[in-house]
Amino acid sequence: MTQIPLQLLRRHLLLGGAALFAPASALSQAAPRTGTLKVAFLGLDTADPHRHTGSIAVQQVYVEGLTSIADDGTVKPFLATSWEISPDGRRYEFKIREGVRFHNGRLLTAEDVRANAVRVRDQVRGGWLSAPMRLVDSLEAPDARTFVMTMKEPYGPLLNLLSELWIVAPESEGWAQTIRQPIGTGPFRFGRWQPNVSFHAPAFAQYWQAGLPRVEAVEFSLRDGADLSLALRAGDLHIGRIGYDKLASVRADPNLEVRFMKDTTWWFWSFNNRNPRPPFNDIRVRQAVSFMLDKPAFMRFVAGEAGTVTNQMAAPGQFYWDKAMHDADAHAAPNETRAHALLREAGVNPANTPCRIVSWQSAYTEIAVQTMRKLGFQVEHLALDDIGAQRRLGQYDWDLAPFSSGPRADIFLRFVRLMSDGPNVGLWGGTRDAEFDRLVRAAIAAVDLNERRRLYLAAWQRAMDNYYTVVIGHAPEPIASRREVTGYSPGFTWGQHRVDGGLAFGALTARG
């Protein structure tokens, strides 16, 4: 990941890129589709693409958005060919791509887009889009090719978030309630779905990008809990996430190739910020804990060579990452002496101080537990399943929470976690800091990109100073694919179909 992509600067000024793809050549159209790609990423919980966004990996293959997050993390035109943003940053005018067909053969119009936006605004609670949708002033489709979205106030992350506003034909079964058979525009159709088992999506012959997709169908394995690396090695899967702990064994297999996602997963320890219990409300104690942290060892443990240590929510090299801030990290390496000194200074005797740690059941949480134990605290560890942890975090009767969080379509989706009214903030200690909120709000309202970056960094500096959440490091998720798969590469987010890559580009060559 190199320097700040220029597009980021440009996109808000007015232009979306022009149509990226040349008209279909007769040659590529002629290439026959062969084989079924067997893949495994995240699950699929609902057939309704608007319901909530937990199934982004799977549903992107049959529905598409106006925009798409490209490999470099920038937002690109997709179902929209271009857009214009008014100078005050409130009015977005999208030009809708021509020749895009729904799976039922009907052509996409601006009115379809508007209907989808209205449905999400009025019917869907929760999800990433709920916050921007609350800020919508009006949704209009003045003509068949134009969609206009007017906001009550400027909202910087909108274009990125629109990459997850899936466009579904309003005639889809269940539109009024819950969509059961979505009719999208994606390269694959919504085929046979067996919850928890598999999802079969056959290729869409009239897909608007000529020559795509290159396989007859994709089949997602939706079983969770199974060790995918074994299935990959055995040839039962073509592409799948494997986890860092299987990296070595997968790499040793000549039939498999490992690539990394473009955005990162990040690891952090949060303190209880909503209702901190003494002595963890003392900044010196928080500091002591942070000095005890062996970030390099931790990152080596969770991600091996793939991990990098830093102190920010943006990964090193990304636009919103700051090198000076990174270099000033006091906790880049552990300092046990300082840790103990700080505790003494705060008058804390850890031996008679209970410390309740809430976490998931991943192995890395045990490092946190052992660290606190080493510091001398009486540790009580509640290792829970997803929902159990969620519930427990919401009670705010704990002291420390080691967690991780995955790739997101926009940096705002990371910052929002520390805001007073943010979604699902338990993992980050339920921070309530008016000044932090103000800085982030200013950042998303800022039309100028550098100003936005400055405000985000200021907000983050405040979070670091107060030790709300201590970032340990980042690592991209490894995705393994078998050698017979060509053309596929993992993207910035989990979405498996995007403007410049994904399953539509994947092809199968004969084995051996």
Binding site: D45, D48, G126, P195, V197, S221, Q390, G422
Partner: protein, 303 residues
């Protein structure tokens, strides 16, 4: 009293049992902290207002009693409600998962019983051979080796190292593992039963008639030991319905066990209730059938 009346009374008792289980399950689920809205909030962004609205929409904010009344009135007509996670009727999910579990249980039980009975009978026929020891070993195997340990080993050996079997979705390993486990549970008690039955007076009578050993084992010993097999089979099948859970999860088979496991960790109330009820119906039916079969096998119990 006629068989039909007896069976009817037995059935009534089981129905009462099921009603009790339904209530218990409903209450039990309510103890579990967290609900599906928590689970949705986890994946997306839900603020407190949205969470409250969602709970109201799903009827989760109503009183327990009200929820129960609604649930019962619908469950009686086969409507267990929609899965909260999948937006699909729970009954549909169960119907989709049922064949896998039934198939797994039936195959494992058939293979296991066959192996167990043959081993026990053979060991009774040739007590001097290695067979009785083999029965003992098989029994210790099934007691000492948890199926999930064997399952892990099987995946590693047969699917990864040898590459003979697929890792997910294959049936051979789980069926074999369960079958051997069942055989071990059946063979020993049956063998002991046969040995003990061999001391019964009517076996002495059979010998006094000059019957051949094979005829005595097949015609006199096994039929009388069959009630043991049926009783054991009933117990095992009831246990197997639960034991299949481990195998299903381990081998990624889309059965009821997997469904139950995921529903429990996902707080998918309607599915949990439905699955547990289906399990309970299964166990109750098995017990009832076991009883009925035993009755029909032993002429002394027919009346």
């Amino acid at each position: 009293m006629s068989i039909a009346l007896q069976a009817g009374l037995g059935f009534l008792r089981q129905a009462m049992l099921l009603a009790g289980i339904a209530i218990a399950v409903f209450l039990l689920i309510r103890i579990v902290p967290g609900d599906v809205v928590d689970s949705m909030a986890l994946e997306g962004s839900l603020d407190d207002e949205a969470i409250a609205a969602l709970r109201a929409e799903l009827g989760l904010d109503a009183g327990t009693l009200t929820q129960f009344r609604i649930w019962v009135s619908r469950a009686l007509v086969g409507d267990f409600g929609n899965s909260l996670r999948f937006d699909r009727p729970a009954s549909e999910l169960i119907l989709a998962a049922l064949p896998t579990t039934l198939g797994l249980a039936a195959l494992a039980l058939a293979a296991g019983l066959a192996l167990g009975i043959v081993m026990a009978a053979a060991a009774a026929l040739w007590p001097g051979s290695a067979l009785p020891s083999l029965v003992e070993i098989l029994n210790l195997w099934s007691i000492a080796l948890p199926t999930f340990c064997v399952g892990l080993a099987a995946i590693l050996v047969f699917s990864v190292w040898l590459g003979w079997l697929p890792v997910i979705g294959q049936w051979l390993s789980p069926v074999l593992i369960l079958a051997v486990d069942i055989a071990g549970q059946v063979a020993k008690p049956l063998h002991e039963d046969l040995k003990e039955a061999a001391t019964a007076s009517h076996i002495r009578t059979a010998r006094a008639k000059g019957l051949s050993p094979a005829r005595i084992v097949l015609r006199h010993l096994l039929p009388n030991a069959l009630t043991t097999v049926v009783a054991l089979g009933g117990l095992i099948l009831a246990g197997l319905i639960g034991g299949a859970l481990t195998m299903e999860v381990l081998f990624g088979l889309p059965g009821l066990g997997t469904l139950a496991y995921q529903a429990i960790s996902g707080r998918d109330y309607p599915v949990i209730q439905a699955v547990v009820l289906v399990f309970a119906v299964g166990v109750v039916m098995v017990n009832w059938a076991t009883d009925a079969i035993q009755r029909s096998l032993d002429p002394r119990l027919r009346r």
